[in-house]
């Protein structure tokens, strides 16, 4: 038994020791990923985004810091889609793996929880996928998110719908009882009320709900013109199908987040028609950039070549956090955290994802995310007008 104890302690120590020795011309970035558990699909997407950026940078020689070029090394660990585990991981990445910077875990809740650790150690963390104002309200100096606020979804969507369907009066909102979907739903409620619309239904459903027929039956009974449902892809697949079965009718249906993903379109088939959604990135955006990709079009082309498909916003955000960090480091001319943080605060990064600057709270506020509608099985951009590929259509598929 003594032997066993000793061996075990040694084995743990050994592996711990190995990771300390590292070459010096390397920039280490810690990235907690949800490889297993509920967020596993998103974890895979983020990793694809990170790795496309990493490959581009390293093929080009690395990140230029003064006269040196640093290769990018990403440190992944699986936080099993459990937020506290992500928090512990951030601490481990900083103290044990000694990473220079952090990419946030997926989603608003985990980004918020982890930002406390980043703040404690003073390590700048770039958040790929946090858009809820509640994440950025703690006065932290080390959290920078590339997504714009949730209201940048609800406002343009409400504009499009009220202008194209002037007789819209009644709005029904169904939200997943979770940080991001609920925050988003609250923004939709505000945007609707601001325009004089009546919110006739506002309910939450529990995380892990298998069947939405009761909620949708009640929703239908309120006879809404515009229906907004927030949640994640599996919720929204079931919601779309059950809404059709229960003959839920209305003039417009907005589902976020899901319809911008190809998997969602595949899983609902013809019912995708005319569903509106929004996302922070779409392959049709046309930004010229000063980053390693050069332009949105080039990014899309490289992504297609590597992964055989169009990038969605989660995949793109994985590359976006990379280019933002890279630009900040190159401007600072150093990997010193204070210098890089100062550049992040200054902002003004022209990236393939859009022009990125941060509000004092750390959330991006410098670009307009596209509003999308599914037409003929394809995602069309209906707003803003400069990049629109289609016109908004009213009505719902049955």
């Amino acid at each position: 038994m003594k032997l066993l104890l000793g061996n075990l302690l040694m084995a743990i120590g050994l592996v711990g020791g190995l990771s300390v020795a590292q070459a010096q011309d390397v920039l280490k970035i810690g990235a907690p990923l949800p490889v297993t558990g509920a967020l596993s699909p998103e974890g895979t997407k983020l990793k694809q985004g990170y790795e496309l950026w990493q490959q581009q940078v390293n093929d080009a020689g690395g990140i230029k810091v003064g006269d040196k070029q640093l290769k990018v090394e990403l440190r992944y660990y699986d936080y099993q889609s459990q937020t506290p585990r992500a928090v512990q991981l951030a601490e481990k990445l900083i103290t044990d793996d000694k990473v220079d910077f952090l990419f946030s875990p997926f989603g608003s809740g985990a980004a918020k929880a982890t930002s406390a650790v980043a703040e404690k150690y003073g390590v700048p963390m770039i958040a790929s996928s946090a858009s809820s104002a509640e994440v950025f309200n703690q006065g932290y100096q080390n959290l920078y998110g590339v997504y714009t606020d949730n209201s940048t979804f609800s406002e343009p969507l409400a504009d499009v719908i009220t202008s194209k369907i002037p007789d819209v009066k009644r709005v029904a909102i169904l939200a997943r009882n979770d940080l991001y979907p609920l925050s988003l739903a609250n923004e939709f409620e505000k945007s609707a009320k601001k325009r004089g619309l009546e919110v006739v239904f506002f309910e939450k459903y529990a995380i892990g709900t298998l069947d939405h027929s009761s909620a949708l039956t009640q929703l239908r009974a309120t006879n809404p013109d515009w229906i907004v449902v927030t949640g994640y892809i599996n919720d929204l697949i079931t919601v779309r199908k059950q809404a059709a079965e229960l003959r839920v009718t209305g003039k417009a249906l907005t589902l976020i987040n899901g319809p911008a993903y190809q998997e969602w379109i595949n899983a609902v088939g013809p019912l995708a028609e005319n569903v509106t959604t929004a996302s922070w990135f779409h392959p049709v955006v046309k930004y010229q950039s000063e980053d390693v990709f050069g332009s949105s079009a080039k990014f899309v082309e490289l992504f297609r070549a590597k992964y055989n498909g169009d990038p969605d916003f989660t995949q793109a955000s994985g590359s976006a956090v990379g280019v933002v960090l890279q630009l900040a480091i190159e401007r600072a001319g150093s990997t010193d955290r204070d210098a890089v943080r100062a550049e992040l605060k200054k902002g003004g990064f022209k990236t393939f994802f859009g022009p990125i600057s941060f509000a004092p709270s750390g959330i991006a506020n410098s670009y307009v995310p596209p509003v999308l509608q599914l037409q003929g099985g394809k995602v069309q951009v209906i707003y803003p007008a400069e990049i629109a590929t289609g016109e908004f259509k009213a009505g719902l598929a049955q």
Partner: protein, 288 residues
């Protein structure tokens, strides 16, 4: 009208719940094994149906028995190889064993199929029944009917064939059954295989209704648990009753207290039931 529609919704999901729980209940009742792997086997059945539909266009409702057969072989072999050696040990041991298998199978399915949610899309869609404004989706009716036919066939088979009666005998009293010359470990393997059959066919039926992913397995397992407690351990009519009861309770819970409390209501009732009648609605005392 709203009340009636909510009742119909509850019954429609209740039928699916019965399918989800039937195999779990059988294994629990006969083998005294709490099969944590059950949810993963449902998902595996769902994937089989998804790929059969994608590759050859086979309707998942017709494919259900085939998925069941594949899972039967899987379950039978698994019981012989891994579970049988520890059958005589306390149920905590077999529970841990299936817990380990569940971790492995879920992770393996993520590695093989990815965790992306997918769904079988029937073309043309089956549509809905409508009667006086009350709506009932046809796919749920098919799934419930197919599920009830399979559960019913199992029930009749258990009562009318020699092998079936052997399973019941083993469930009642293992030692006495052994004395009567029944091959107990062979019976166990068949019963576990049947449990897997039910899981596989339930998975195939669900693949047309819910999105499939390895991530869904824990949810199905949780439902199976609740339904068995409601209906009674190892009782097949109990499972059917428990499934419908859970569906209706959740449905009305969502109506009265809001959708976010639907599951809470069901679980609260479950606790109360456990306190006053631990053997479930139709279970008999004394199998513990």
């Amino acid at each position: 009208m709203l009340w009636l529609q909510v009742l119909v919704n509850g019954l429609a999901i209740g039928g699916l719940y019965a399918c989800i729980a039937a195999g779990f209940s059988l294994v629990w009742g006969v083998l005294n094994v709490i099969n944590i792997l059950h949810g993963s086997m449902i998902v595996l059945g769902g994937y089989l149906a998804f790929f059969a539909h994608q590759q050859w266009g086979i309707n998942p409702f017709l494919f259900a028995p085939v998925a069941g057969l594949v899972l039967f072989v899987f379950g039978y072999a698994l019981q012989r190889l891994a579970i049988n050696p520890v059958m005589s040990r306390p149920f905590l041991i077999t529970l841990l064993l299936t817990f380990g298998l569940n971790l492995f199978l879920d992770n393996a399915m993520i590695a093989l199929f990815s965790a992306d949610f997918r769904k079988v899309i029937l073309d043309p869609p089956l549509g809905v029944f409508e009667l006086g404004g009350i709506i009932l989706p046809v796919d749920r009716v098919y799934a419930t009917l197919t599920g009830l036919v399979i559960v019913g066939a199992l029930w009749i088979w258990l009562r009318s064939t020699q092998l079936g009666r052997a399973i019941i005998a083993v469930r009642m009293d293992r030692d006495a059954a052994a004395l009567l010359g029944i091959n107990v470990s062979g019976t166990y393997a068949i019963a576990f295989g049947l449990g897997a059959f039910m899981a596989g066919s339930a998975g195939a039926l669900l693949s047309a209704i819910f999105p499939i992913s390895p991530l869904a397995s824990a949810g199905y397992l949780g439902k199976a648990f609740a339904i068995c407690v409601l209906g009674g351990l190892g009782s097949i009519p109990g499972v059917v009753l428990g499934g419908f009861a859970l569906g209706v309770i959740e449905s009305y819970g969502a109506l009265f207290l809001g959708p976010e409390h639907a599951v809470t209501v069901a679980f609260m009732l479950l606790i109360v039931l456990l306190m006053v009648r631990p053997s479930g609605l139709l279970g008999r005392r004394g199998f513990a």
